[in-house]
């Protein structure tokens, strides 16, 4: 996108998000974990104490770390043990996704089906993890979370800009187009812009911001073009498996730039899709977060 067009998108985004009132702030727990992790002298025990102060998050962390998603043979019974085995970053990712599910729990009447939305999101995270593993990508956990949260902008719009988003969903229904196409026509910005704006506002990592912003056009993600290509194709794979729904009933075409970044062989799609299906089953533990 040219610089002028990019500025126009930012202007339209600003006008739209300025109307948002009561947007939740990032829960204090995550801010505190972030601060603690910046200090190299922070111990696992200190982070565990902070997490353990919230019984709901503690129970979610322990359920996820003991699920087949991580597949440890022995039961992990304390948060300290979980941190020692899985590392600060993984635990932070679990807390991040759990709190974001919590923040956007409220279903809006006439909005889209949150259960199907989160299933699509979990599916995309799982597919991204499989792709990243096959490509020898080093940070599987971050890629999973980027897949899990790539469409959060849709929920922000559904919840806080409900009437404008209802127009988008109407266009999707009447024209049978992709949500991203209806957003461009109706609002001039997309859920990718809104999601990236939220993550920037919350000071989340640049990688997460850029993969979210560019998951429909990964070539624009600069140094994050490869992870963005992974999320882009993971979204396509999970749609092909008809698992969950991000609110539309079509499959976007793979970007040529993303396809060459990934270097996949179409002759291997059958085992790839089967592996994604297995990973999705393991990742379904994350649906617990909307309880």
């Amino acid at each position: 996108m040219e610089a002028g067009a990019q500025t126009e998108v930012q202007d339209r985004l600003k006008k739209l998000v300025d109307r948002i009132q009561g947007l939740p702030t990032l829960p204090a727990m995550l801010n505190n974990i972030n601060k603690m992790m910046l200090n190299p002298r922070t111990s696992a025990k200190e982070v565990a104490q902070l997490i353990s102060s919230d019984p709901s998050i503690t129970s979610k962390v322990l359920r996820v770390v003991n699920s087949s998603f991580y597949g440890f043979p022995n039961r992990i019974t304390t948060v300290t043990h979980a941190i020692v085995i899985l590392g600060f970053n993984t635990i932070k990712s679990i807390v991040l996704s759990s709190t974001i599910f919590d923040v956007f729990r409220k279903e809006v009447r006439g909005g889209f089906d949150r259960q199907e939305f989160w299933k699509h999101s979990i599916g995309c995270g799982a597919a991204a993890k499989v792709l990243a593993r096959r490509l020898g990508f080093p940070t599987l956990e971050e890629i999973f979370i980027a897949g899990l949260l790539h469409d959060v902008g849709k929920i922000v719009m559904d919840q806080f800009l409900h009437e404008r988003f209802a127009e988008v969903l109407d266009m999707v229904r009447t024209r049978n187009c992709l949500i991203v196409e209806a957003e461009e026509k109706t609002l001039g910005i997309t859920h990718s812009d809104v999601g990236a704006w939220l993550f920037e506002k919350w000071n989340l990592s640049k990688g997460l911001v850029e993969t979210t912003r560019c998951h429909h056009n990964p070539a624009l993600a600069g140094e994050n073009a490869k992870p963005a290509a992974i999320i882009h194709f993971a979204d396509i794979l999970v749609r092909a498996l008809r698992f969950g729904s991000g609110g539309d009933q079509k499959i976007p075409q793979v970007s040529d730039a993303a396809w060459s970044q990934l270097g996949l062989d179409p002759g291997q799609f059958d085992p790839l899709l089967a592996e994604v299906g297995e990973e999705i089953e393991r990742a379904m533990i994350f649906l617990d977060f909307i309880k």
């Binding site: 359920r63 299933k119 749609r239 092909a240 008809r242 499959i251 179409p266 059958d270 617990d288 309880k291």
Partner: protein, 105 residues
């Protein structure tokens, strides 16, 4: 296999995975047939979702595999309609059909 909210589960359906309570204790083994009493117990233990067998949805086991396979073909032809002429997308559509249909046999 599919995930349903507890309110949507009906007696006679079967759970596809072991059902655990919030503490991870086993309540019912995979394959257990749901009864009204079981539903009441699950609500009492704050279980909100279940994995169930025999989904009537796409790509899952059912009574009429041929009909389901035809549904898979029709569904994927529909959602891929605008992009199937792209070689990568066409190959993906056919692979997805094979993978989903292998689950309904």
């Amino acid at each position: 296999m599919r995930v349903v909210k507890i309110e949507e589960a009906k007696p006679g359906m079967r759970v596809a995975k072991d059902v655990l309570d919030l503490r991870g204790n086993l309540l019912y083994k995979a394959g257990t047939e749901i009864s009204l009493q079981i539903l009441e117990t699950l609500r009492g233990r704050n279980v909100t979702h279940l994995f169930l067998e025999d989904s009537p949805g796409l790509g899952s086991a059912g009574v009429d595999p041929e009909k389901r396979a035809a549904e898979v073909d029709a569904e994927l032809d529909r959602v891929f309609a605008d992009v199937a002429s792209h070689p990568v997308m066409g190959a993906l559509k056919e692979a997805a059909k094979r993978v989903l249909k292998s689950k309904v046999k």
